[in-house]
């Protein structure tokens, strides 16, 4: 079998792979558009901040579910751990936001690593139920140690100092949104890097066919532990952001509802598409805000219908649908 000379052998392939990692025009537009709220909707910056936080949380779940294929129903556990870490620090005198943020990410990441030692050994229904069970155990425990967590009333006395000593977190959310958006963007860059790396490719391999990966000698569990840890850490950052921008922490940050909401956001936007969680978070949170006066039951109706619709008609979520559209347009245009 003759092969091409090694000098030029891989070049066209390399070019093809490089094209996949390039920043697209739409992406740049997206991030620039994120600055619009300051100009267009200055009254809604708190909401924008909440959206950015949810987007960050959804991004962390996308890494786990969309890229590694791990369906975790307890991801809120890490969000809550981050939230409470930042909250407890702030409530006990350490109100500096950036270090609080880092600490929260670290705590959540370490807990994620410890959990991963158990979790990645399982798959299927056992995996789903174990992640759910561990998260519920944490939520239950957090409720019980109300002397520490404030229990059902939430943590009191969370006092967050101004960012860089200058920008205080006000009710208008100007600092909050800039802070959340900056963190979101930086973490996004990190996650984007990961997905474009060989590690990211391995994760996709595990998601597509874990058995074949093992047959290629891949250390699946080591890869998954790493992913789980990183995803947990990012979720923790999101939780800390919520605490610091709202100066409250409640048990809801650990609850099943939170895990379910983020999954719905991710599915709506499109799983495994990097921007899916972001798009889904934007649409979901805006819709929830607009329809906040709706009966909760009716909200469930539309969410349910949306989930059914996505599975039946739009399996890739909104981004999936858009990519199908653009592909069919491209085919028509010469």
């Amino acid at each position: 079998m003759t092969s091409l000379t090694s000098a030029g052998a891989g070049d066209d392939l390399k070019i093809w792979l490089t094209k996949r990692t390039r920043w697209r025009g739409a992406e740049i537009v997206f991030w620039l558009a994120c600055l619009l709220p300051y100009a267009l909707t200055p009254d809604y910056l708190q909401l924008a901040s909440q959206i950015a936080i949810s987007a960050l949380f959804a991004l962390s779940l996308d890494l786990l579910l969309g890229y590694a294929g791990v369906l975790s129903l307890g991801h809120a556990a890490f969000f809550g751990l981050g939230a409470y870490t930042a909250g407890l620090l702030a409530a006990h005198g350490w109100g500096e936001p950036l270090t609080g943020l880092a600490a929260a990410g670290l705590v959540a990441g370490v807990c994620g690593f410890l959990a991963s030692l158990i979790v990645v050994r399982f798959r299927g229904l056992a995996l789903i139920m174990i992640t759910l069970g561990l998260a519920q155990m944490l939520a239950s425990a957090a409720n019980s140690v109300s002397w520490l967590t404030g229990g059902a009333d939430g943590l009191q006395g969370v006092d967050v100092k101004p960012l860089f000593g200058v920008f205080s977190f006000d009710l208008w959310g100007r600092t909050a949104y800039a802070y959340s958006l900056a963190v979101l963007f930086l973490v996004f860059l990190l996650v984007r890097r990961i997905t474009n790396s060989p590690f990211g490719l391995s994760l996709r391999g595990i998601r597509e066919n874990g058995v074949r990966m093992a047959a290629l000698g891949a250390p699946n569990q080591a890869h998954l532990r790493k992913t789980f840890t990183i995803a947990a850490g990012i979720a923790g950052l999101a939780g800390a952001l919520l605490t610091q921008t709202t100066e409250t922490v409640s048990l809801q940050t650990l609850g099943f509802q939170k895990s379910a909401d983020v999954l719905v956001m991710l599915v709506l936007g499109g799983v495994g598409r990097l921007y899916g969680g972001l798009v889904g978070a934007i649409i979901y949170m805006i819709a929830r805000d607009q329809f906040s006066d709706m009966n909760p039951e009716y909200w469930f109706f539309w969410i349910g219908l949306m989930l059914i619709g996505v599975v039946v008609f739009l399996p890739g979520g909104i981004l999936g649908g858009l990519s199908l559209l653009t592909r069919s347009w491209k085919r028509r245009a010469p």
């Binding site: 561990l134 239950s140 019980s144 969410i303």
Partner: protein, 287 residues
């Protein structure tokens, strides 16, 4: 009323029997077709509300509503399976979860719309209420009724599975679907019937649940988690597994509520995670 271990065991076992009825259908159909039907609880809720409507609007006696609850849930499941589920047997686990959760949400909202959000109120016959005394311990009569019904049905199911041709086909399909098809068994039909039977039992469970744990529009979701615990701990495709896991869960729940209420549901989840770590396929699961 509950003064001792006997009381906790009795109440716990009765609750477990209810969970068994609610879960056994899901365990068998999951084991057979690997189709994750999280909407299983919605069929239970349907059965419950059918019973409520018959009793409150049409003045039917309680016992008469039970078979109707069963049939209504079974019929609904046949329709849903034909119209929707059939197309998703090959879909990914995630897609099946999302689809069926969507159905749960829609059913919760519909129940709220039709029946409101308050607890359903029914009058069970006088002979089912009250309690009897054995030694120094008081036991509720309804719970005894529940236990008897569940045991009878469990025996019936085992008999169906072990001694009938249909049961043999079910066992074959659960064991190895490809082989069963190869042997000429119409697995799709067997599945549809088993699915109907399982959902019917859930509907019956829903009707029976009203007196024990109450019924409102969130039933489909709030009991989903318990059903999942029973199914995962008991093992897919196993009646015996569902029975054991349901009894265990029932007793643990009541024991926890009675002796350690401040720990909430911690104990339940702890036990579940521990069992799954030891036996990922469930206590009696094969796959």
């Amino acid at each position: 009323m509950l003064g001792s271990i006997a009381g906790v065991l009795y109440d716990g076992f009765a609750y477990g029997m209810l969970l068994f009825l609610l879960s056994v259908g899901l365990s068998v159909t999951l084991g057979m077709m690997n189709f994750v039907n999280l909407a299983h609880g919605a069929f239970a809720m349907l059965g419950g509300y059918v019973a409520v409507t018959l009793m409150n609007r049409l003045d039917w006696p309680f016992l008469a509503t039970l078979p109707v609850a069963f049939l209504a849930a079974a019929a609904a499941s046949i329709v849903l399976e034909r119209v929707l589920y059939r197309r998703f047997y090959k879909a990914s686990d995630l897609d099946q979860c999302l689809l069926t959760i969507g159905i749960v949400f829609v059913s919760i909202a519909s129940a709220a719309y039709v029946f409101g959000t308050e607890q359903a109120v029914v009058r069970t016959p006088a002979w089912l209420q009250g309690s009897f005394v054995v030694g120094e311990q008081t036991f509720g009569v309804y719970r005894l009724f529940l236990i008897v019904v569940a045991l009878a049905l469990a025996a019936g199911l085992v008999g169906l599975l072990e001694f009938t041709r249909f049961g043999a086909k079910v066992r074959a399909a659960v064991d190895n679907q490809r082989m069963a098809r190869g042997l000429g068994i119409d697995v799709d039909r067997v599945f549809a019937l088993t699915f109907a039977l399982g959902c019917g039992l859930a509907g019956l469970g829903g009707a029976l649940a009203i007196e024990l744990v109450g019924l409102n529009h969130t039933f489909a979701f709030s009991y989903l988690i318990y059903v999942l615990i029973v199914v995962s701990v008991g093992g897919l495709g196993s009646i015996g597994g569902s029975f054991a896991a349901a009894a265990l869960l029932g007793v643990s729940t009541v024991a926890g509520e009675y002796w350690a209420p401040q720990t909430g549901s911690f104990l339940i989840y702890f036990v579940m995670v521990a069992i799954l770590m030891w036996r990922p396929l469930g206590l009696f699961g094969k796959r």
